[in-house]
Structure formats: C-alpha cells, structure tokens
C-alpha cells in the first residue's frame, strides 16, 4: 500500500520500478508437468479444431488451432496434447485452452529455422505472434494504415514490474539487433527506444538511439508516450495504427532477434513476482507454466482469501485459481495478503476532485462516474470523454469515497461496445429489409 503523504495537496507521485544496478539477472523456472496455452476464441465444436488430444508437439512448434482461421499458438514444451477445452476469462471472453503434458526430452521444432532464414515481416507474422509480449506484427503490414514510427518501449506498463526494463538491462545487444531486424523487415526508419534514466549507460554502450522518459506513473503508457515524446495526440476512440504509430515492448524486440539468431521460436517470458511484502523477484518462465509453479519456486505461500493478480498493482487482473498459466503478455504475478486488500465502497461521489487532479488525460472523472453509475454509457461516451481514458487506474487509487471508478470505466467501455454492435446489427437488418422491399 502506498499511502497518501501527510502533505496531501500535491499530486500523488507513484514511481515506476526502475531496475537499479544491484538487481540480478532473471531466475530460471524449470518447466515441470504441463503447460496451458490459450487460443483466441472458444472451440465451436470438436470438428472445427485442427488439433486433437494425444497429438505430439515439439518445443517452438506452430500449432494451427482452428480449421477456418490462420490463428495459431506456439507449443512451448515437447510433449503431447492432453486436453482441449473452453476457458472463460475476463468480461466473459472465451478462449480455447490447450494443455500440453511435457516430456523430459526436449526437441526443438525446426520449421521456423528451415523456412525463415532471413528476417521478413511475412515470416515473423507467421511464427512470432506468440512470443513474449505478444507483438501484433500484422499491424506492420496493413497497407491502409502505414506505420511511420515504431516505438520500442523499454519501460513496463505497470509499477513494480520489470520485464522490458530487464531486457534492456541484461540483453541490450539483443534489443539492438531486434531493432535492426525490425527496421529491415518493416521498412520503417524511425524507431525510438524509450528508457528510464537508469538504463542510459547500457543503451549508450550499444549505441542505440533512445528517448529518456519520466519515471512517474503513468508516463510510459503508450498514449502518453505519443503525446509527450512524439507530440502526437491520438484522437479519442482511434487506435495508434490510425496515426501511424506502432508500439512494441523491448522484450519482444529482443525475442525477435533471438528467434532469427537461433532459428527457433523463443518460448520464455520474463515475469516479475511481487510478493506480499512488495519485495520482487524476476523470473524467466516458459509460456504456459501455471503460476503455482512460479510461486512455489520463489517461495510464496498463498492462503485462502489472499488475492492473486496477473499483472501489476494498477492494471492487473485478479484470478480465481493458481492453475492460471503465464501468458505471452503476463508481465507480473502479484500476491496480496488479505490484510492488505483495501476495501471498495458504494459511496456516492463526494466531488472532492482528487481524480480530476490526478487524471493524466483530463477526463472529467467526477461527472463521468455519475453517468457510469447510472448506466448512461452513451452519454458518458459522447459528452464525458469515456474514450479519452487511458486506463491507468489512478482515479480509483486516489478516490476518497473508494468508488471503483476504474472498474466502472472498463465496464462502460465493454457495455458501450455491445450497444454499438447491437445498433450496427439493427441497422444492417433494416438495410437488408429495405432492399427486400
């Protein structure tokens, strides 16, 4: 818990974790037993799947999941598929979960190495979509939305987390090579590496062009990097590709470099384990490893009514089970003691204005939250800047009335998307009817 200071009229200052010189290299977690991989949508029925239980897979093998889609996952261990089922995640999003029982003898798949001698955006898209950080490489290929600037983020999205920062610190050569490969394969010359001031020395040794960023949360959020460093404000509701920006984590960039260097798809992810006393251990685990493995390796005991969070303190997601696997975009695992869990309330907004002063996007949170509480999502979206929110969570952090504002905002975006979809559907149906007449 980071408490409000006694002198409270200033803005709260939450700093990102910036890996100091004393921190050690990531600890390797040996993969044991099984891994679980998630594919983007649920299995419609047995026949729609390419995979079957019992199929043998090799480490780094590309597994196409659905017959009617080119979506794939990368097997991260050698073994046999033991289970394929449906899994429901946050906000009702469904996935296909694929469990692979690992064998002792590891065999690295050679398809990538054989097919992809030279770095190219086409083969990167084919094989590297599931590496650490899950870079959306297909966005680099969209002819309608040409990318003008690639931002390599050497900062992490949340406080107390270091995955990208670790890559820059301990694998700066890899990051440099990755940037060169990215430059070559995308044809984009303007690539910037964003780093905290503490990593200046490493990047200077490798002669990488960098931009130093403020270490105050949430300065490393992509929207704020675009606004403060690139001086390019993304209009509310538009994506970064729309304005020619592409964001990728330093860890992903380094992984791309290693993929082409070794001729194999990287299967590991750097994860920060934040323990109950907020001490941190950085581990390197095979993607798909259940977090229970990681927690026991680090020596964290989890009790009933504790809170286990995937991701950081400000933006993570609490999970129900320790069987949840490390995903390509899992930067941290956080365990909170039940004593440390702050309560939320159903108080009404008291209009103290703390959220207004802390909001980096100037959203009128005090007004917005009133509409969100009443379920007036359209009003919130059109008149009260719902889509300007960059989802940093600071409003909930400072709320005197302890209103779960961030949750309301996420819910509103979800519900409003449903409303828009329903409207579009109704319009399409109407248009269809008109044609029939």
């Amino acid at each position: 818990m980071i408490n409000k200071p006694f002198i409270g009229f200033l803005k709260p200052k939450i700093e990102y974790e910036t890996a100091g010189p004393t921190t050690s290299a990531p600890r390797e977690i040996s993969s044991s037993g099984h891994v679980v991989l998630f594919a983007e949508r649920p299995p419609a029925n047995r026949d729609s799947l390419v995979l079957n239980t019992g199929d043998k897979v090799n480490t780094g093998q590309k597994l196409s999941v659905f017959k009617d889609s080119d979506h794939y996952v990368i097997a991260t261990v050698t073994g046999a598929i033991s289970d394929i089922s449906s899994y429901t995640g946050d906000q009702g999003k469904k996935f296909t979960s694929i469990t692979i029982k690992s064998e002792k003898k590891e065999e690295v798949d050679d398809e990538f190495g054989g097919k992809c001698k030279e770095p190219a955006i086409e083969n990167a898209k084919e094989f590297l979509g599931c590496i650490a950080g899950m870079p959306e490489l297909d966005k680099l290929m969209d002819p309608e939305k040409p990318i003008k600037t690639i931002v390599v983020n050497g900062m992490d999205p949340d406080i107390m987390v270091s995955a990208n920062q670790y890559s820059v610190r301990y694998d700066c050569a890899g990051v440099r090579k990755g940037i060169e490969i990215l430059k070559k394969m995308s044809g984009v010359d303007n690539i910037i590496l964003i780093i905290p001031p503490t990593l200046k020395r490493e990047t200077q040794l490798e002669k990488i062009e960098t931009q130093i960023i403020d270490t105050k949360y949430p300065a490393a959020s992509p929207s704020l990097i675009a606004k403060d460093i690139l001086k390019q404000v993304v209009p509310a509701g538009k994506s970064f590709e729309d304005v020619g920006l592409f964001f990728i984590g330093a860890e992903s960039v380094a992984a791309i470099a290693h993929a082409y260097e070794k001729g194999a798809v990287p299967v590991k992810k750097i994860v920060t384990v934040i323990q109950k006393d907020l001490s941190r251990t950085v581990v390197s685990a095979v993607i798909g490893t259940p977090i229970s493995n990681i927690l026991s390796a680090v020596g964290v005991t989890v009790n009933e009514k504790d809170r286990v969070v995937i991701g950081g303190l400000m933006t993570g997601r609490a999970v129900y089970s320790l069987d949840y696997p490390v995903q390509p975009d899992t930067d941290a695992v956080l365990v909170q003691d039940m004593e440390d869990i702050s309560d939320i309330s159903d108080n009404a907004c008291i209009n103290c204005g703390e959220c207004i002063r802390v909001c980096p996007a100037n959203v009128p949170v005090n007004l917005l939250v009133r509409f969100l509480e009443a379920g007036e999502y359209e009003e919130a979206a059109y008149n009260y800047d719902l889509y300007s929110c960059i989802e940093c969570g600071l409003c909930s952090y400072v709320c005197t009335a302890k209103i779960p504002i961030f949750q309301y905002i996420k819910l509103a975006k979800y519900e409003h998307a449903l409303i828009l979809a329903a409207e579009a559907e109704a319009e399409a149906a109407e248009a269809g009817e008109a044609e029939n007449v």
């Binding site: 818990m1 980071i2 408490n3 409000k4 006694f6 409270g8 009229f9 709260p12 929207s223 606004k227 993304v234 209009p235 509310a236 509701g237 538009k238 989890v302 009933e304 009514k305 504790d306 809170r307 969070v309 991701g311 303190l313 400000m314 933006t315 993570g316 609490a318 999970v319 129900y320 089970s321 320790l322 949840y324 956080l334 909170q336 039940m338 869990i341 702050s342 108080n347 009404a348 008291i350 209009n351 204005g353 703390e354 207004i356 002063r357 996007a361 959203v363 009128p364 005090n366 800047d385 300007s388 969570g393 952090y397 400072v398 709320c399 005197t400 302890k402 961030f406 949750q407 996420k410």
Partner: protein, 318 residues
C-alpha cells in the same frame, strides 16, 4: 482448472492511497473545533451547549432520516457531525436551543439528505440551515441583541454591524490584532481569526480543502473592499475589517470549501472563490444584510456546476 483455495477477486487497481471520507471529515472537524475553544473559554457552558446540541441533533436527524428512507446509516462518515459543528460555529453563544434544533433539521434534512445525502447537496448544508433561520428569526441571530447580557474587556459590538450602521469611523474601535485573537462579538467559531487560519492552513497542507478556493475568496474580499474604500472612504470600510470580522475567515476556509457544492477544476475554483469574496463585500456594502458571506457562498454554490464547465479539454478529444 480449479483447486481448493478461494481467493479474493476484484478489479484493478489493487492499491489505494488510504484516504477516506471519515478521515477527511474528522480532520476538518478537529481543525474547526480548535476555533471553537476560545468561545467556550469566553462564554462557558452557553457556547458548549450550543455546539453539543448542534452536533448531536445533526447526527440524530441524519439517523432518523436514514431510518425513514430505509437507507444504510451514514452517520459513521462524520459528515452530519461536521455539518452540526460548522452550523454551531456560525451561531452566537446565547441563541435559544430550540432554534439550534430547527437549524440542524434544516441543514441536515433540507440542506443535504433530500438531495440524496453526502456528495449530492448543491449547497453547503450548514449555510442553508443558517440562511433560513436568518430570514425567519433575524432578531435571534443578531449578535448585538443575543449577546447583550455579556460583558467582556473589549467593545461589545459586532464589528461588521458597527461598520454597516455607524460607518467606517467605528473601525477604530476594533484593532486588527484584537479581531485576530478573537476579541470581538460573533459566532461561536467565527471570531478567533488566528485559529481559523491555522486550522485552514493545516487542512490545505493535508489536502483536505483546496487552497485555490480559500485564497481566491480572501483575495476577492480584500480587493473588492479596497476598491470600495478607495471610491469613498467616508462610507466604506477598508479590507482589514472585512477580512477579520464577520464570517469571512470561516467562510473562506470551512464553508466555501465544501466538496460537493464547490467546483473541482483549477480555474473554476479560482472564479468560485473570488466570486464568493466579491459578493460578500457587495452584500455588506450595498445590500441590506449585515454579513454577506452566507448568501454570497450560497449564490456561488448555485453557480458552481456552471463555472465547473470551464475545464481542460480531455486528451484526444476532437
């Protein structure tokens, strides 16, 4: 994929800065109560009685209304007690107790609860209570009348009333340092300027009230008073008496800064505070009421949502 242990699952963020409504109201009450102490020393049990009745009845009204409206009891957050305390601070020590009970009823029930409770009140509840009493029973709230039986070692005249009725020549009766240390007739908690300022500065440093409102309020009073004074020295008093007497200080630090009835953006807070200050002096100098603070703040409360529309453009807003 479930195992036996059950975890607490909730939405991000997973930390909070530890602030709470209770913490806030209790801090404001402690700071405000310091300013009440000199009056308790001066008037004794009479002042204490008013404060005690005011705070307790404010709490009772809120409990009764919570019960009647079948809502969860909200007195625990201290807001009702705070309204009671602020209301008592405006009253003279000799006020009849039935008037206090009626006042807290108006403040808590009409000023706050019927709008939906804390955070939904468009006006400062304590001021609504006081304003209605001021219109209904003006004699019972007239300091010079109510405190006629007290005799202390300073001029037993309300400075702000003396200024209104006898002109700026009477200002000489009230040296600034006397006003500052509480040697003046007035409300229970509104006479001792130095303690009000100390409490207010404490709250500003802790972030419980906003400096923008208090500072611009005082600046508004001072500048308007200077302008009036310059225009006609024989008719209008200077800024010192306007700042240090009446409800100016308690208004600037405790009444105008009420969260739900004041703006939250930077420029609107300045406009709101300055508006309160300017209106205060206008009512005092040109209006018929002796003290303008109460009505000035209520008026600006009314304008607050409108002023608060002046806000920075949200990021990416087109």
């Amino acid at each position: 994929m479930f195992n036996q242990k059950k975890f607490i699952v909730s939405h991000a963020p997973f930390i909070h800065n530890g602030s709470s409504i209770t913490d806030k109201t209790y801090n404001i009450m402690i700071a405000a109560f310091i300013a009440v102490l000199p009056s308790i020393c001066l008037y004794g049990a009479a002042a204490l009685k008013v404060v005690a009745i005011s705070v307790s009845t404010a709490i009772i009204w809120e409990v009764l209304l919570n019960k009647a409206t079948k809502r969860p009891y909200s007195v625990g957050n201290g807001n009702a007690a705070l309204i009671g305390l602020l209301f008592a601070m405006l009253l003279p020590a000799g006020v009849p107790l039935w008037l206090v009970v009626i006042g807290t009823f108006i403040a808590v029930v009409i000023g706050k609860e019927i709008f939906g409770g804390m955070g939904a009140n468009p006006f400062n509840p304590a001021l609504i209570g006081y304003a209605i009493l001021m219109v209904s029973w003006p004699d019972l709230l007239d300091f010079d009348e109510v405190l006629v039986n007290y005799k202390f070692d300073f001029v037993m005249l309300s400075p702000i009333a003396a200024l209104k009725h006898f002109g700026p020549d009477s200002v000489a009766l009230f040296p600034a340092c006397d006003l500052l240390v509480g040697k003046q007739i007035g409300g229970i908690g509104s006479t001792c300027g130095i303690l009000i300022i100390l409490g207010g500065v404490y709250l500003i440093i802790r972030g419980f009230i906003r400096w923008e409102i208090s500072v611009s309020f005082l600046a508004g009073v001072a500048i308007t008073a200077v302008l009036f004074n310059l225009s006609d020295q024989a008719q209008y008093g200077g800024p010192v008496i306007h700042l240090l007497s009446g409800y100016t200080l308690i208004g600037a630090f405790y009444l105008a800064t009420d969260d739900s009835s004041s703006p939250v953006n930077f420029i609107p807070m300045l406009i709101y505070g300055a508006g309160c200050g300017i209106m205060t002096v206008l009512i005092r100098n040109i209006g018929s009421y002796v003290d303008g603070v109460v009505l000035a703040i209520i008026l600006m409360n009314l304008a607050s949502p409108l002023i608060d529309k002046i806000r920075p453009k949200a990021m990416g807003k087109v």
